[in-house]
């Protein structure tokens, strides 16, 4: 069966509804329903990705629209993993809302998808490099929403517990970001002859990586200000946006980045 963006809306609606049921069940402490509904939603969404993959005859990872597809998939996946580990009731609502935003972007601003995949991208490293990064971005997306929530929260009583949850999320996100970055380095050696060339994308990846390291190290200090810790997370996420898509609009990166494939 040929799968195109025209069919996306049906899969998207079904998946979002299932994730919403899962999120509601998590609030009501119906754990089993939360798991089953979220996982079926993920399966529905992934089946679309898989059929796109088959129809395109290449992994759908090249254009921004395609990476958003993975992002929308990984958000609820990250949500359910965090939920299973730390049982936060709110996490599935967060991840579903964020996934919905990205699904809407893809629905209202679909991008043309051709089958072509230039030789430089034909590598066994391509899928793991991008997928692992998208997962890291998804985890940091959830982290950022939680940080904003804590930033504006008045009461300080339960904040220590939340701050610990934030830390755990940052460690998971950073672990995947490290995988993505180093897979990229190993791939770059095979594709371009060098593992690190300070290409604008690599420069911004390093910036983002160091920014989250600042958070992790700041949280080890004996005396801390909660607002500084949260502020570091918010700034880090802005830097991450720069790395993800911002450099496409950056004058200094124009024509110099080997990472800009979407335009060609």
């Amino acid at each position: 069966m040929m799968m195109t963006w025209e069919q996306f809306i049906y899969f998207a609606i079904a998946a979002v509804l299932l994730w919403a049921v899962g999120a509601w069940a998590a609030w009501r402490e119906k754990t089993a329903v939360a798991y089953i509904s979220t996982i079926i939603g993920l399966a529905v969404f992934f089946s679309f990705i898989l059929m796109m993959w088959i129809s395109l005859e290449r992994p759908p990872l090249r254009t921004m629209g395609e990476t958003r597809l993975w992002y929308s998939f990984f958000l609820p996946l990250a949500g359910i993993i965090v939920y299973s580990r730390w049982k936060y009731k709110w996490i599935l609502s967060f991840s579903t809302m964020l996934a919905l935003v990205f699904i809407c972007v893809n629905l209202f601003k679909p991008e043309i998808h051709s089958k072509t995949l230039m030789p430089a991208l034909q590598s066994p490293w391509f899928a793991p490099h991008v997928i692992v990064y998208m997962f890291a971005y998804a985890v940091f997306g959830v982290t950022t929403l939680m940080a904003i929530f804590l930033f504006f929260k008045k009461t300080q009583t339960s904040n220590i517990k939340h701050q610990t949850s934030l830390d755990n999320l940052v460690y998971v996100g950073l672990a995947f970001m490290t995988f993505g970055m180093l897979f990229g380095a190993l791939w770059a050696k095979e594709a371009w002859g060098h593992y690190w060339s300070w290409d604008p994308k690599e420069t911004w990846a390093a910036i983002t990586w160091f920014a989250y390291l600042i958070y992790i190290h700041y949280r080890q200090l004996p005396k801390q200000k909660p607002h500084i810790a949260l502020g570091i997370l918010l700034i880090s996420f802005v830097l991450l946006q720069m790395c993800w898509w911002g450099i496409n609009y950056l004058p200094s990166a124009q024509g110099t980045s080997v990472h800009t494939y979407s335009g060609s």
Partner: protein
Amino acid sequence: MADFSYICTRIAKNEIEVVARTGIWTMKEGFLIGGGLIVAGLILELSVGPVMWEAFAWPVNGFVLAGFLTIIAAMFLLRKSVSVFRFIGTYQAAIPTLVYAVVLTIIMGLTRQTPDGRWLNNMLTFWPFVLVYVYMAVILGVVILRRFSKLRYHRSMQDVAFLLNHCGLFLAMTTATLGNADMQRLRMITVVGEPEWRALTQEGTIRVMPLAIELKQFIMETYDDGSPKRYASEIQILTKSGKNIHTTVDVNKPVEVDGWKIYQYGYDTQMGAMSQTSVLELVRDPWLPLVYTGIYMMLGGAVCLFALGRKSMIIDNDDRS
């Protein structure tokens, strides 16, 4: 008694020391040191010009690395008598340095980088940038030695995570930077039926290589819209060591011979599939095994970060209960 053993563990784990030993040294001093490095870097940039990385070719980089490691070891050993050295191994030193590194790298990301640029347009040779990163490596080195010395009292998975991450980054950073001068990248233009021994260096000079390559056939496949799907070179390699290899070099699939990696680089785009020439890139990087060891350690460290979460770096403050 419980409290006593708890405090002992924490001293052993270096957590109380951070508070007690650094005394008056705080993040403020950390930012001052970083600022001092920026000023020193600017003075160096004005007086001696940009960092000449080419000057670090073997054996200079070997000596520099040995000297660097000696300095780090000395700082570690003198940490009890020199307060700055003691400070270098703390979070209060690490955080401001990371902040400076991020800010300078952001400037690098916002400024167009050119190989023959100066100052902000060529950050990799800009002294303040280099000094901040070198200082970061010094901190990493001292922190690693401190952690190793603590292993006598207490060992845990946290130590494995900590050491993999920090040693991995230290190794990858230092060897990649110092080894860069020894990396050779040359382009060889091969023509069907003509064995080629010569290659072009990045500076544009011709060099005779220890291996010859003859292009047997240039292979090109295209999509329906004409964009390239695959291009590759079927080649015959003859080496001075007497090897005779028949192989195909694809994009993303380099071939390795006698320490040289041979990459498909380009072709005659005017001729497309009919191209009779193929441009290959020959790369040699003797420091690669060390850099890769660092990268694999960091990958192992990332597994630990994922598995242990927040606990991968410290004993939780609420572990006490």
